[in-house]
């Protein structure tokens, strides 16, 4: 939509359009944030590779779509692949660091980010790649005479579905109980006979998979590109800081907040979008270093 189109719309239609944009953006950000917060909750580390894994998801999605023709397959396989990579990384490398300080974790996940970033550059080249959405989801629907991209509506709904699914998983299943218990008191859980190491590996893998899911979903909207990774990790970090490290609900709130700020900020002050994010991050870190709902960072 051109700015002129936007100007011609009624206020309500405008709010609705931007609202849909914001909510679909929030869905993407939620996938990024919830993975990071889950990982932090369980392992007390910030996974610096989160942004690159998001990007990896997008690129793997691209290849899967290209070679199988099925976006839906990509939607399933890309997160699984990246989740497996994440679990392997945790098993092989992160496990050795549990006795060391937080810095070592940061460095190592940073190393993972670099290696993954370079791998992506090697395998897919330096250019941005277009990922077409499935036929079912392309096109627009009309509400109040305004066009709404079906894909964005899909994102919104999918985001809600996954959020509910994760919430139910955490609250009602045994696995969820294990995850919550381990994030509060790993030693106690260990004393109860649970293999905490397995929980950690699993959660790390799930977190990485969720990031990749975000990436695959984002690809048709923003194209798979290299700038994604750094922006994604900062976005994820901001969300988790706002909502609180380790808080599921917080990542939801954070994603919504950030998405709305980004979308409406971009509408009113398009050139300052990035500066805006920086300021938001700053503000939150200064005012509430623990986040709105969270544990110690």
């Amino acid at each position: 939509m051109t700015p002129r189109d936007l100007a011609r719309m009624s206020t309500l239609a405008l709010l609705l359009t931007q609202g849909v944009n914001a909510l679909s953006q929030a869905a993407l950000l939620f996938f990024l944030g919830v993975g990071l917060t889950l990982i932090f909750g369980i392992m007390r580390i910030v996974n610096f590779a989160h942004g690159t894994l998001y990007m990896l998801g997008a690129f793997i999605g691209y290849s899967l779509v290209r070679y199988t023709g099925s976006y839906w397959l990509a939607l399933v396989l890309a997160p699984l692949t990246v989740g497996a990579i994440g679990t392997a990384f945790e098993l092989g490398i992160l496990r050795r660091l549990y006795r060391r300080d937080a810095h070592a974790f940061l460095m190592v996940t940073f190393g993972l980010a670099l290696v993954t970033g370079e791998a992506v550059r090697l395998l897919w080249g330096s250019d941005a790649l277009q990922v077409p959405p499935p036929a079912l989801l392309s096109g627009v629907v009309f509400l109040m005479d305004e066009p709404f991209p079906v894909y964005r509506l899909f994102l919104m709904s999918f985001g809600i579905v996954v959020a509910i699914a994760i919430w139910q998983l955490l609250e009602r299943t045994r696995l969820g109980l294990l995850i919550r218990a381990t994030s509060q008191n790993a030693e106690m859980v260990h004393a109860l006979g649970v293999d905490v190491k397995l929980v950690r590996s699993g959660v790390f893998g799930i977190g990485c998979g969720l990031a990749a899911l975000g990436g695959v979903l984002a690809a048709p909207l923003v194209t798979a590109a290299h700038g994604m990774a750094a922006t994604a990790v900062i976005d994820a970090f901001v969300i988790v800081i706002i909502g609180g490290m380790g808080s599921f609900l917080g990542s939801l709130i954070g994603a919504l907040l950030v998405a709305f700020v980004q979308v409406f900020g971009n509408y009113y002050l398009p050139d300052f979008a990035l500066a805006f994010m920086y300021l938001v991050m700053l503000l939150v870190l200064v005012v509430r270093p623990g986040g709105l709902l969270g544990k110690e960072a």
């Binding site: 610096f48 490398i93 660091l97 190393g111 980010a113 791998a119 920086y278």
Partner: protein
């Protein structure tokens, strides 16, 4: 109490002599590589000041490099100021901006601090793309000349002359950093690194010290960038990209943090991989990342740290440890 060991000083002197004599023995392409190493070594060393001595892990040091490069490139293209003046001005400008950056980033600590440094570098990256009139947008600045020095000293226009200028900058920066870390200020940095809370209670305004070291580190990083622009002849957004920040951090860790020399070795190691491996495989940067992970896991003190430990053990075979 051991006698002061003359070997490091002699070794250093030998290396410096070799570096000074290099243009007379090495072919042109090797000199180009050596000049690049000097610049990259300066960049890595500047980061070590923050990371190795004050435990301020920056993921955005490319901001210093890029800012210095764009500043010097712009001044060289749009004014007739002599090269050394431009380079030093660009470094000072970067240091000045870094005071603001440091003030903001030190509002947080730990991981949040690191993320803020990254965010700032990303901000600069985005600005560089958008502010086309000054930065040339995605094309960057090209055709940056190596201008003559003041009083018509044309020495810098030649490759050899420029090499000596860069070398002077590196050696000067090294001695400056060395003096800094051995001074009372340096002792405070050590305290901040080991136990910031205690250092604060002992009466030190730790935030000021952190901001100062950040400004100096960025200024020296900007110096490196400012040298890079006339060396390469261009400045573009790649110089602000987070991968470069990452590579700098790797040079520091792999080379040996907290040693000043180590990061220079790390830069050499990096260039070795880049120029040797790249003929065999395009994945050399990936190997660099893997080596980095290996060092973090198994040899966190880096190459130079390992070497120093080996020397110390060789000198005290009875196992007697100094304090």
């Amino acid at each position: 109490m051991q006698k002061p060991n003359p070997l490091p000083a002699l070794g250093g002197l030998a290396v410096v002599c070799l570096l000074i004599a290099a243009p007379f023995g090495l072919p042109v392409f090797a000199m180009t590589l050596l000049t690049e190493l000097v610049i990259l070594g300066l960049f890595a060393m500047s980061l070590d000041l923050m990371v190795g001595y004050a435990n301020l892990v920056s993921f955005g040091h490319a901001a210093a490099y890029g800012l210095g490069a764009y500043a010097s490139g712009y001044m060289l293209l749009n004014s007739s100021m002599p090269l050394p003046v431009v380079v030093l001005l660009a470094a000072l400008l970067t240091g000045g901006v870094a005071i603001g950056v440091g003030w903001v980033c030190t509002l947080a600590t730990g991981v949040s601090f690191s993320m803020l440094t990254l965010a700032f570098a990303q901000l600069l990256y985005a600005i560089a793309f958008k502010w086309t009139s000054v930065t040339g947008g995605s094309d960057g600045l090209a055709g940056i000349p190596r201008r003559a020095g003041p009083f018509s000293i044309t020495i810098f226009t030649s490759k050899t002359g420029f090499y000596y200028f860069a070398l002077t900058c590196l050696i000067g920066a090294y001695f400056m950093c060395r003096a800094l870390v051995r001074s009372p200020f340096g002792l405070v940095l050590r305290g901040i690194r080991e136990n910031e809370a205690k250092t604060l209670v002992l009466g030190y305004n730790t935030r000021l010290y952190k901001i100062t070291v950040i400004a100096i580190a960025y200024a020296l990083g900007g110096l490196a960038g400012a040298l890079y622009a006339p060396f390469a002849g261009f400045a573009n957004t790649e110089l602000l990209f987070w991968l470069l920040s990452g590579q700098a951090l790797i040079m520091v860790i792999v080379g040996g943090q907290g040693t000043l020399i180590g990061p220079i070795l790390g830069a050499a190691f990096f260039m070795l991989l880049e120029h040797q491996l790249s003929s065999y495989t395009e994945a050399w940067a990936l190997f660099f990342g893997l080596i980095f992970i290996a060092f973090v896991l198994f040899a966190p003190e880096g190459i130079w740290g390992l070497a120093r430990r080996a020397f110390a053990r060789a000198r005290a075979p009875t196992g007697a440890r100094h304090g």
